[in-house]
């Protein structure tokens, strides 16, 4: 049986791993190497490394940094931030990335998704969508450039578009929920998950472990991701797996850790 994936998201800002709050405030965590080593050795199923200042500063993703963190990363590594053309993808993959995440460039030029998936296979191409709820319209809008630029695109429609262009997965992040600890935006998550036939990864807002469970059961996500909750909390990935398993969701259990009896954060 296919397992529900638990993904650790590492947010890189000026080459430092940070906790992000509302896409506006950032708390430094530390070097990428150390953060990577922690999550790769815990029970996390995949790592998503995103450089949120690469596009803004018009620079490419950091080849040396990807190479150094991927060296001891034996779970899949997705790299995003500053990916604008096929050459950028080639560099990131050559440095050790397994998958590539495209965000702003997909909005500017959807044909890039097609080119990328033709060249590298759709399973290699993740499209990230940063969405914000529009109360007046009761729908969600997609934002580019690290949540700064409104695109006018409606989330569900955009998800269908990126699927049609050949995206292999969608990484759906809620700007409203980012760092708020009040859970995933389950409404948009469910609507997007049900609208496409490619896997949808939920991100943004996990504050307690039960939020992961809700993301799967109510949001219908194929995989659940979080960033902040995994920092400064020893073995939090293992606790997350315990929660998912106790809710009857199939997960991969791989360490010698005991999964029973975790309930301290309710």
């Amino acid at each position: 049986m296919l397992k529900t994936r638990l993904i650790s998201c590492l947010v890189l800002r000026n080459n430092v791993i940070v906790q992000s709050i509302g896409f506006r405030r950032y708390l430094p965590v530390g070097g990428a190497g150390i953060s990577m080593e922690f999550v790769a050795q815990w029970d996390v199923d995949e790592i998503f490394l995103v450089d949120i200042t690469a596009t803004k500063e018009s620079r490419k993703s950091n080849r040396d940094l990807i190479a150094s963190v991927s060296k001891n990363c034996f779970v899949p590594l997705t790299v995003g931030g500053g990916i604008h053309d096929l050459e950028d993808i080639k560099i990131a993959i050559r440095a050790g990335a397994d998958k590539i995440s495209i965000n702003s460039e997909a909005v500017r030029n959807p044909a890039f998704i097609t080119d990328a998936s033709r060249r590298y296979g759709s399973q290699c191409i993740v499209v990230s969508m940063d969405v914000k709820r529009d109360e007046s319209k009761k729908q969600h809008e997609v934002f580019a450039d690290s949540g700064k630029a409104a695109t006018g695109l409606e989330a569900v429609q955009w998800a269908k578009t990126v699927e049609a262009h050949g995206a292999g997965e969608i990484f759906l992040n809620s700007i409203d929920r980012d760092g708020m600890k009040n859970g995933y935006d389950l409404e948009v998550l469910r609507r997007v998950s049900e609208a496409v036939s490619i896997p949808v990864i939920a991100c943004g807002g996990v504050g307690v472990m039960a939020h992961f469970v809700a993301g799967v059961l109510e949001g219908r996500a194929s995989a659940v991701a979080a960033a902040n909750i995994f920092h400064h909390t020893e073995h939090s990935t293992i606790v997350a797996k315990a929660y998912l398993r106790n809710a009857g969701i199939p997960v991969r259990l791989n360490t010698a850790a005991k999964y029973a009896g975790f309930s301290f954060d309710d």
């Binding site: 049986m1 296919l2 397992k3 529900t4 994936r5 199923d45 190479a67 991927s70 060296k71 001891n72 990363c73 034996f74 779970v75 899949p76 590594l77 993959i93 050559r94 440095a95 050790g96 990335a97 397994d98 998958k99 033709r118 060249r119 590298y120 296979g121 759709s122 399973q123 290699c124 292999g168 997965e169 036939s197 490619i198 896997p199 194929s222 995989a223 991969r252 259990l253 791989n254």
Partner: protein, 214 residues
């Protein structure tokens, strides 16, 4: 340090650095190469790959590697490990984006996974395999048999080649073996402890072969 030379075929497709990282982690002398002469020197050949079948075959052809692969794997019987697309390429043909001929080492056809309605493709994530044939690949792996898969196409071939299967709405060939030819649809280099264990088992095969020849 293991003195055997593991040549990872670099034909411009996919996450080969990850494969090199894994062999390096296991203290192997491994190199990425697209040179025919390195295939001749190799003690073992690894064909990784993520991407489209047709493009991969045309890269191998343009690099002039097909004859060298056939000679070293089929004739000289060097241990071979195909990973993901590298497993599919040893089949007879594929219908990914058209119809393309493969290396034809195992009489299998690469076809889109015929998932039931509502099942998502690509098949991405950790799935449990069942061992269905004789193989040293899974020695010492206990309890947890999850490996990381990411693919939309799969090899359809006779049961006698299939040494492990998994289920994703339909049965999927997770690993095949024929004499010195080993291949996995999943990514051992990205399957944490289980994957490293499998690679170690492959490395042991390479070492054992040398001892037999002595």
């Amino acid at each position: 340090m293991n003195d055997k030379l593991f040549v990872i075929v670099d034909y411009g497709m996919g996450n080969i650095q990850s494969v090199l990282n894994a062999f390096a982690h296991l203290q192997c002398r491994a190199i990425l190469s697209q040179a025919e002469r390195d295939l001749e020197k190799a003690d073992a050949i690894i064909l990784p790959g993520v991407g489209a079948f047709g493009e991969a075959m045309s890269h191998l052809r343009e690099l002039g590697l097909i004859k060298a692969l056939n000679r070293n794997v089929l004739k000289r019987k060097k241990p071979f490990l195909g990973i993901c697309l590298g497993m599919q390429l040893i089949g007879l043909d594929s219908t990914e984006n058209g119809k393309y001929e493969g290396l034809g080492w195992i009489p299998g056809h690469v076809r889109l996974i015929a998932v039931p309605g509502g099942w998502k493709l690509p098949h991405i994530g950790w799935n449990e395999i069942r061992i269905t044939g004789e193989t040293p690949l899974f020695e010492s792996i206990q309890n947890d048999f999850n490996f990381y898969f990411v693919h939309s196409f799969q090899m359809e071939c006779a049961d006698r080649y299939v040494v492990a299967r998994c289920n994703y709405g339909v049965e999927i060939a997770a690993a095949v073996q024929h004499e010195n030819i080993f291949a996995t649809q999943f990514h051992p280099e990205k399957s944490q402890e289980n994957g490293l264990r499998l690679l170690r088992n492959f490395i042991h095969q390479v070492q054992a072969r040398e001892r037999r020849l002595c």
